[in-house]
Subunit: 236 residues, 2 copies
DNA sequence: GTGTGTATCAACCAGAAGGTTGATACCGAG
DNA sequence: CTCGGTATCAACCTTCTGGTTGATACACAC
């Protein structure tokens, strides 16, 4: 798909630390772990917070390979941003599966919330927040907060990246199901051209361009040409 | 010549939105307001969340000038990051001072938490979270969460200052020696805002914005707002 | 104190852009 | 063949933008 594999943006290592600080500071986890995803889609750069070194070692050595919610599960699952263990794994499975029976439960963990960060739809980092059995259950409200935190982390991450503008353009046009002609108009609008010039470029009348623009405005919910350009170059 | 005191970072306008979403999504404010600080140290670009328009208008017209915790108080106070109204203002003062007696209290506000973002020690943005009288008091725990959120927002802000996008903005503005106000206009133009909105954001008249635009057009050799945006993010 | 640069605003005009209605023509799916 | 989507264009009107002129006010520099 891409000519070059996605490389971590500079500062992702620091970024990971800051995210951990944010999540553990705002949400009520008893312990936490995070990792980056390398080009082979393997988790690396583990960082932990109040997580017993023995537990971490045990995970890496024995249980990682049978983890039903291993990060690799979510590499291609583009919708997964914030997930909750107890929503994905039935209580039956948690009772019988060795991963939960012999690892998660003995370490006093009641539930796990996991957040995923992506760049160009590729998973680059994950954060696992552990809820201990002594803590109250995770409410929908807590999950919403986690989603808000995730949204900002994702925004912050994207801010630091150079997103290829081609992708932005394609995404914009596909999102709103623009027709081929409408795409061409968007392309020329994004060059900052006035309607008259666009019309002559596409060998049609000014009226036609205006109609196309009306359709584009209607489909995209945008109100002006200027707004189109800003939509294309700013991630919202 | 004046580039030293210009610190307005590109993308701050969007950043402000995201911060508001984060704060209001994670903390339990009943309403919120935020603003950017221009180089005259005045708050501009107000954005509100569940705040009554009438209350905001009242503040701008009558109470801003007697606000004991007006942002200008914190412009030079480098240590202030997260402050709580009830910690800074005695209950006596809250009882007698017209700002609290005639404005804060009548609008049902019990307390305010304010967060400040800085670049190079200079205040660039502020966020005020209003706690209503129906809500529980702010605990130390809540304040710590606010501090964690602040820490990440500050980190994220600093990250955006070294991005290619920001550099392009800086390069564009420096190349053509735009003045601080002109830079702000460029920033808002690049968000796709119509002149009327830009004027209200910078609280000046439409005429002033047009004049600024004329100067920008003259200096940069550009002919329209749309072209500015495409120039900013397209190298050609 | 005069001058230069910045920021502010008003009035005016022409032209561009946005919004609406309506119309024609082509094409492909049902 | 009819219907829906696309592409085309015209006429009309309102609002916004761009361009100009001119003016005031406040800095800071020389």
């Amino acid at each position: 798909m891409k000519s070059t594999d996605t490389i971590y943006p500079a500062g992702l290592y620091n970024f990971q630390d800051e995210c951990m600080g944010l999540l553990t500071g705002v949400l009520n986890a008893s312990k936490a772990a995070s990792y980056l995803i390398d080009n082979q889609k393997k988790p690396i750069c583990y960082k932990t917070w109040q997580l017993q070194p023995a537990m971490h070692r045990e995970y890496l050595e024995k249980f990682q390979k049978i983890d039903p919610l291993h990060p690799t599960q979510f590499v291609e699952n583009h919708d997964a941003t914030v997930v909750k263990m107890n929503d994905l794994v039935s209580s039956q499975e948690r009772y019988s599966h060795p991963y939960y029976k012999d690892f998660i439960s003995p370490w006093g963990v009641q539930d796990i919330v996991e957040l995923f960060l992506r760049v160009d739809d590729k998973l680059v980092a994950g954060f696992a927040l552990f809820i201990s059995k002594q803590q109250p259950e995770i409410l929908l409200e807590d999950l919403r907060k986690a989603e808000k935190l995730h949204k900002f982390m994702q925004f912050s991450l994207e801010q630091t990246l150079v997103t290829p503008k081609h992708n932005q353009f394609e995404e914009f046009c596909n999102n709103f199901q623009l027709t081929p002609k409408e795409r061409m108009v968007v392309e020329l609008v994004s060059q900052g051209l006035p309607n008259k010039t666009i019309a002559s470029n596409l060998h049609c009348s000014l009226a036609t361009i205006k109609t196309h623009l009306q359709h584009i405005f209607y489909k995209t919910g945008v109100n002006s040409k200027t707004e189109i350009t800003s939509q294309l170059y700013n991630q919202h």
